[in-house]
């Protein structure tokens, strides 16, 4: 018979209250290249997780294949390192059947957007209760430097020696187009921001899509330098904060406003006036504004919004059936099974 209790076995488990970053570090030696942005993301995730207030046994990292995919091994949680591109599907099976767990699906830009693109958009559409982290370095790291679906047009890589012929995905736009209920972006070198975004994602009841720009010093070094270098950072990071007018720059001297034709533009606050600035509303039901913000910059060399673009509540897959299923599973026993087997027209042959 089902041991319903095991779902809650760890409730008073590993001393939740006192968990620290170190508790989330697994014994395995990290094997990324020196200087890889994945280290920073890993550290931020480990630093953030104690906040969840969950015993580490209730957290699962499901990853795909790629440098980023190695993540699973470095977390002292349950971890499932799947095959290339399928992490969202593995995570879906796990999350809908084990709603007591905190399930994180993580992969690279190739893993999640190239081979895994379909699972990603369907998980978002379905609003599966998983947190999806896409570690975007705009290149294939593990396979040593081919173009990825986020590599820019004209990019020269091993597989595109004459330059890529393809326009890259705008991952946030794709997620919004798929109907994502939560969409955010952050960048590896800004640990506090990463943690803020992780927090928001973890608080979101459905599928949360988080793009994390991260640097691959080996195959695509400094792709996000404008966003992270001390000198250029302020001028490039447009931090979205719900309820606040969108301003940025060292002196917060620039901002985002709507043009008369409805499109968004970057303006000088001094010229446009504070009132002209767009007030960021992540909770708007219509995703169109978030979509427009996602298109504000075409290249990371331009001022680029980061933060939570969208966070709206809508039915979470599995929620509506959850209680019925759990109750059913608790209740079912030999009697119910007997009744099931004897369903339909039966007849008896006497001995």
């Amino acid at each position: 018979m089902a041991d319903g209790a095991r779902y809650h076995a760890s409730e008073n488990g590993s001393g939740v209250a006192t968990l620290t970053k170190q508790d989330f570090v697994s014994g395995q030696e990290t094997r990324w290249c020196p200087g890889c942005g994945d280290y920073a993301v890993l550290a931020a995730v480990q630093e953030f997780l104690p906040e969840l207030g969950l015993p580490l046994e209730r957290i699962v990292f499901v990853t795909g294949i790629g440098c980023a995919g190695r993540f699973a091994y470095y977390m002292n949680t349950y971890g499932l390192h799947g095959i290339h591109g399928r992490a969202p599907a593995l995570a879906t099976g796990l999350a809908v059947s084990r709603p007591d767990l905190s399930v994180w699906a993580l992969g690279g830009d190739g893993d999640m957007l190239s081979i895994g693109g379909n699972h990603l958009i369907h998980a978002l559409r379905r609003n599966i209760p998983i947190k999806i982290l896409v570690l975007n370095n705009q290149v294939y790291g593990l396979t040593k430097g081919q173009t990825s679906p986020t590599s820019e047009l004209g990019k020269v890589t091993k597989s595109t020696p004459f330059g890529s012929e393809d326009q890259p995905f705008n991952p946030l736009a794709l997620a919004l187009g798929a109907g994502a209920s939560f969409v955010a972006r952050t960048v590896d070198r800004d640990r506090h921001h990463v943690i803020e975004v992780l927090r928001a994602a973890s608080e979101h009841p459905g599928a949360a899509f988080v793009e994390i720009y991260h640097n691959c010093p080996i195959f695509n070094d400094e792709a996000y330098a404008a966003l992270t270098d001390k000198d250029t950072k302020d001028a490039h990071q447009i931090r979205l904060e719900h309820g606040l007018p969108i301003r940025f720059g060292a002196e917060r001297e620039r901002g985002v406003a709507r043009r008369p034709d409805g499109s968004l533009a970057i303006v000088e606050v001094a010229d446009a006036g504070e009132d002209a600035l767009l007030v960021h509303d992540a909770h708007r039901a219509d995703p169109s504004m978030a979509f427009a913000l996602a298109h504000l910059s075409q290249r990371v060399s331009e001022p680029t919004p980061i933060g939570v673009f969208r966070a709206v509540e809508r039915p979470v897959h599995g929620e509506s059936s959850r209680e019925e299923l759990e109750a059913a599973h608790e209740a079912i026993g030999p009697g119910e099974l007997e009744a099931l087997l004897h369903g339909g027209a039966t007849w008896t042959v006497e001995s």
């Binding site: 089902a2 971890g79 099976g93 809908v96 059936s321």
Partner: protein, 610 residues
């Protein structure tokens, strides 16, 4: 007055347009036959298209039932009786009839227009082309309309629609089926639809009474109840039996069932069947594709659930990589392959059992796993339970092979006692397993690894598809470790041979020929062999339920016969396996027509070899 003739067994085929309700009539006749106590087997056949134009050959839907006063094994090769509701139904089935068969036609439907639609130049009822048959012309439509015309709220169109129940009435009379079973069903089914209920009952009675009173039908047949094993029975098709087996496994193991699947004929029915069982704790997901479905099932397995996915051939191709991952992860998982005729899209609605080698080898690298094949519709129940048992006990994906024939055919099923079901114990890891540490790949005596599920304190661990160090499960590129892990994985699966029933032979003294089968060839082989014996031939038969590993005594059995004949609906896949494994010069009887084997074909093949 009609005379009554005793018969051992009868094969009836009811055919009509797909809008004529033939499956319903067939199903009702089956229920009554089952309750009456005959052994039986049924097979429906549907048009390939969703809605083919009415009256055309393509639009014909048929239902065949074989019932007998003794146990039978197939839905029958050649019908003795055909009920044809229109010319197309007659035309597309007449060739399959045994010579001298009885044909009952709905005379009203043999209009010029319908004859033309069916491609008849002349009316076959009148041109003598049916002279080898005994033909009864019954104006079913008009008689049904007449029987229902006085019912308030029933138009003559509504009435005409009930002609399938009229036909059912006729057949019920001809074979002395208990009318109450059908009456009760009609009452239940149309409980809230007053006039329709009355009309259907009236049509059914009219048909029955037509037999009783009309002089036209001059014979009745009596097929005595069969001496079946005592117990409570129900009629199940392979789809239902598989669903019940999976649910039973879920209940007895305590593992909640997560069934993830992507629609594909003929596997979709299993999804439909299970989707309705929410109250039994079954969760189903229609995934975005077969790859996702397999991964969802596997993800659920990681979480400690019974993860199952089902598909047909093309979908199996897509699941291969994920099944390989499950082999590496050594997690329990069941993959049901309802085989259909290939290659590629092939003939989606037609049965064929040609996925055996794919089940065994259809993944890159060395990735052995257990393969089981269901033999009959009812056996799908046991096969599903067995698949789950092996998956859970050995922490391995298991492929369960069914096919389009098994999925749709039905037969009586002796409902088992719950206590007799195999015990399946998940044996979740509860704590450290070596010196206070937890080693996710430390094996037990079956070579199975611990199943430690998220939520279990102290057992947090990480596993994946990269080669793993023996014991710890950590990533390892060590050459000797890879050799060891490869052989441990193989050994684990091979070891299952100790844990399954030996190959049983239906032997006959003096038999030098053994007929070997797997999957749905069970019925035709057994029936074929029986017929040979009835004719005095000596033949042995054996059936493989486990295809990997093979039962431990398989080689011994095969080598003890002078000749071995393997019968299968592919180009000789099992034959190839036993030849390689045991170096026996197995012969093949193969058929690739998108149809099940027939008992008569087996009879012929066996006789040729005696």
């Amino acid at each position: 007055m009609s005379r009554t003739v005793d018969k051992d067994r009868v094969v009836i085929r009811i055919a009509g347009d797909s809008g004529d309700g033939m499956q319903l009539a067939g199903g009702r006749f089956t229920d009554a036959t089952a309750v009456f106590g005959n052994d039986l087997a049924t097979a429906p056949s549907y048009p390939a298209e969703v809605r083919a134009p009415a009256g055309t050959l393509r639009g014909v839907s048929a239902f065949q039932i074989h019932f007998a006063s003794r146990d039978i094994l197939t839905p029958g090769d050649r019908p003795n009786v055909l009920v044809a509701m229109n010319p197309a139904a007659l035309k597309s089935n007449v060739d399959t009839l045994e010579s001298g068969a009885t044909i009952v036609v709905n005379d009203d439907a043999f209009s010029k227009r319908n004859l033309a639609k069916a491609g008849y130049d002349a009316n076959p009822l009148e041109d003598g082309s049916l002279s080898e048959f005994r033909v009864y012309r019954v104006p079913m439509t008009s008689m049904t309309v007449k029987a229902t015309e006085s019912i308030e709220g029933v138009s003559s169109r509504d009435g005409a629609r009930a002609k399938n129940l009229f036909a059912l009435g006729v057949l019920s009379w001809m074979y002395g089926r208990p009318v109450e079973v059908t009456e009760e069903w009609i009452e239940r089914k149309f409980a809230n639809r007053g006039a329709i209920l009355t009309a259907n009952l009236a049509a059914f009675h009219a048909g029955y009474n037509f037999g009783e009173t009309a002089d036209l039908l001059d014979v009745r047949y009596r097929v005595k109840p069969a001496a079946l094993r005592p117990g409570t029975y129900r009629n199940v098709d392979g789809t239902t039996a598989t669903a019940l087996g999976l649910i039973a496994a879920s209940v007895t193991s305590g593992l909640p069932l997560l069934f993830a699947s992507y629609p594909i004929t003929p596997a979709s029915e299993l999804l439909h069947e299970l989707a309705r069982q929410r109250s039994l704790g079954v969760r189903t997901i229609q995934a975005e594709d077969e790859i996702a479905a397999a991964n969802m099932a596997l993800g659920a397995a990681f979480g400690g659930q019974l993860g199952v996915t089902a598909t047909s051939g093309p979908g199996m191709d897509l699941k291969a990589e994920t099944i390989g991952l499950a082999v590496a992860l050594e997690l329990p998982m069941v993959i049901v392959d309802v085989q259909r005729a290939g290659p590629s899209t092939g003939m989606p609605t037609k049965p064929e059992s040609a996925d055996l080698l794919m089940a065994l080898y259809g993944r890159h690298g060395e990735s052995p796993l257990p393969v089981i094949a269901a033999a009959t519709p009812a056996h799908c129940f046991d096969a599903a339970l067995e698949a789950v048992r092996l998956a859970v006990d050995y922490r391995t994906p298991v492929i369960l092979l069914s096919d389009a024939f098994l999925a749709n055919s039905s037969e009586p099923w002796l409902i088992p006692n719950i206590e007799d079901l195999p015990r399946i114990d998940p044996r979740f890891a509860q704590g450290p397993n070596l010196d206070g540490e937890f080693l996710p790949y430390l094996r037990d005596e079956r070579l199975a690894r611990p199943w430690a599920i998220p939520g279990t304190i102290g057992l947090a661990h990480r596993i994946g598809g990269l080669e793993k160090e023996d014991g710890t499960g950590n990533i390892s590129y060590d050459p000797e470790n890879h050799a060891r892990m490869t052989s441990l994985r193989a050994e684990k699966v091979r070891g299952i041979a100790r844990d399954i029933a030996p190959l049983e032979v239906d032997h006959e003294d003096g038999a030098e020929l053994l007929v070997l089968g797997w999957g749905s060839s069970y019925g035709p082989i057994t029936a074929g062999a029986r017929r040979v014996r009835e004719r005095g031939g000596k033949v042995a038969a054996a059936h493989l339920f486990h295809l990997n590993p093979l039962p431990a005594n398989t080689g011994e059995v095969l080598r003890s016969y002078r000749r071995v004949l393997v019968a299968e609906t592919n180009t000789g896949q099992l034959s190839q396996i036993v030849r390689a494994e045991f170096l026996v010069d197995a012969e093949s009887f193969t058929k690739l027509e998108g149809k099940p084997l027939l008992a008569a074909e087996l009879e012929r093949e066996i006789l040729e070899r005696l």
